[in-house]
Symmetry: D3
Subunit: 179 residues, 6 copies
């Protein structure tokens, strides 16, 4: 935020990023570190906040909030963390997000729908840099949790603690069970 | 959060407070300062997050998020800030809040419904201390904004800046207009 | 239900009654006994099923289900008990109710909206007989619970048991508290 | 709509008006005639489309659609008629309306909320001219229907026909009945 | 509509057709022309009105409304155009549609669900005539838009103008992008 | 239900089972008979109550209610029958079910999601015994209905009567039609 000569704040350098963070992994952390360097503030939206307890969305918004805030505790990044529920009406999606977060001027996303919606609404949209996307991906972390493979190195250390504390591996394995 | 001997975290000293914060005023700030002294973390829930643009709920969740986070920037209070949408089904309300926030063990509220719901769900419920509740109240701040009286001294200074930045007084006055 | 010559069942003598039953009282019981005598089956709908924990709707649908089924256990009335959630779109209300209950041919109600909606949809609508409506009313029972007056004689004995078992008087008194 | 030099259409002279039209009356018709003279097209939104069968909103969106289209049949006004359901989230209301109607550049309204919302979204908002507002009002028409007074002169002749055809007076009287 | 001897209107010759019109194409136009010849009025419902910005439903209800009304401007077909939002409860779907549109007596559809629902509700259901259904299909038009093939000849000329005006091809191509 | 020494009722021997019952078949009946022997009361929840008229969920909640209650009429099983609508938020699902039914202490389910959700909420969860699960399955019954094969022997006799009475085979065949 910078003060304009008319006394209003400009939010050109406040940026927004949306993810489901199922769970928050090292790729997410690298993206946030990278774009934070270009920004005054970064607004991190936890998307599909109402979802949990499915194979693709195992963790609640509260659990994801905890993963992210404990990871960022020791980073010197000025951020806002906001869970956003789906409305399932894409034509009001941007207005919904805007109403839930502090002001911003730029959106970072690689998702075609998110990019298109914010772009039609007049926002500057930039790509989010990717870091080893095949390994650092929520799909891969969840796959390893289900199959019992080592997944801990793919996520920040505080995320390991949160997952253990809620018995997250057991939950995911139970949900993935064949009926 | 403290580590238990079984390796799990205990959240007995993590507390939750819910308000609509329309707008965030000095009474809210005093409550938060006061209960923060008894807690490891304080989870501040912005209730009725989907509401805005009415005489009783003029500000969006994002605007309220900004008011609170800018006010608390210089306080040394470890807090989580979470907007919570209404579900309008009180029998699932506690489960909804729990799913949206980091873990907590205690709730501070003077609202009979909130107190009863968390208490039936087994949470420890404490009263929130009140500070000059007739002056430091959202109703009084909004009344003054509509009538053009001095309201700025009732809210923390950053809230004044946010309200000015969004033309909040004009919005409230427009909404209060007789048809 | 009677078998028609075309092999289909007729449901002219199956009747439907809707109430909120907050709580189920002796007036309700008398109505049900009275109309049951004209019917093969009686479908009892627990309306506003999603509501609970307010001064006017203190009890959950499950608690109301229990009150009614325990009261009717010893009556020889063939009944179906069905909780119905509000949709808040009156033009689809009849279709919603119809989809949730076994077939029926007649509706008993004194509520103008219910009567009009079913009547526009082609159903036979009859008035429900009233029994001492000033005393046997949900409003009166709840008023007595809040003020600590004797209410037990206004409801069937199993309802007293259910209310005691869930600490219903305390709940209602807590909810009615002035803030 | 006019063609701009860049080949895109401009919709500066396409205007939008929102009403509940419970029922459509002569005041509505005069407003539409009056603003139509300033416009290429007029988009008429039937608000609260999902509501019906209450004392304040007795008619369905379809019935209101029929009232308006039959009245405007013989007017040489280029109009679009669009029922709009409430979302009950004012911060996405403008985006919702925009997604449901052809493009427009100007809004006519005397409702403070509607005016404020479209104005914050950057639309030009004008007042709708009022014609004998105490007599030509939905409230007055409904009051007369309930009490059995003459109401027919307050509405266009096709509206009388639609109301008679659906037994609208009976419906309103039934709904207004004391319980 | 014809007047019956009892003074009520009959709507046996008013017909309803529902489509998603993503986008409106020449096949749709031919169906409408064809059934209009059997009808007094034709009610055209824009289904799934709340959907937009997906690969299968790229256009908003407002954009589809504009496509259809501009195409039909020069046809002498008496029609009503009504966007209908999904309720995702099929047992109230017919009641929902009926509440949103002027009265009708007949439904034209080839969709098994639509046919079955209206038929169970007692409506006369007829098949809609198909015109070169492999070429004149929304799927084919969207496929061509994405792949850059010629699609303009498959839709009426005003639809081409609307799609160009909203950059519809770009939108669809963006949405179809691989992540 | 047994009375505890503190005067409260214990519901350790009241059990809950959830199914979609599309339709109710002999496998369901065997499960209910089997677990009823271990229980004081059995609460039978009709899940996805708002769904009907699709190939996988052809029957309304009311039709399923009728199938089950007519089948159980001659069994000496103390049961409660409760339709439950989906909320599509799994983190409040248990609270939703609990609010809709009489008290219970144990859940019988083979569905991984149901098992996990009730187990996280502290309920005792047991497996439901399976009886010839390849033949006695809703999928198989519906497959036979669509293809015209013999299905009547897979369901209790009263279910055959209900399906015939509502022309259920025709409905399912119509819905399964290729477009």
């Amino acid at each position: 935020m910078v003060m304009l000569s008319n006394g209003k704040a400009s939010h050109q350098n406040d940026g927004l990023i949306i993810g489901r963070f199922q769970p928050f992994h090292r790729g997410h952390l690298e993206v946030i570190r990278s774009i934070a360097s270009e920004l005054d503030h970064i607004i991190i939206c936890i998307g599909s906040a109402q979802q949990s307890h499915t194979v693709n969305n195992p963790f609640t918004a509260g659990e994801r909030y905890q993963m992210i805030s404990e990871t960022l505790r020791d980073e010197s990044i000025p951020y806002y963390l906001v869970p956003i529920e789906d409305l399932n009406r894409y034509n009001v999606w941007v207005a919904h997000v805007v109403s839930m977060v502090p002001p911003f001027g730029r959106v970072y996303s690689n998702n075609p729908l998110t990019r298109r919606l914010f772009s039609e609404a007049g926002y500057e949209v930039r790509s989010a840099p990717l870091f080893n996307r095949y390994m650092y991906s929520g799909t891969e972390v969840r796959r390893r949790m289900v199959s019992g493979d080592e997944w801990e190195s793919l996520v920040p250390e505080p995320v390991v603690r949160v997952v253990k504390d809620i018995d997250g591996e057991d939950r995911l394995r139970d949900l993935a069970e064949e009926v």
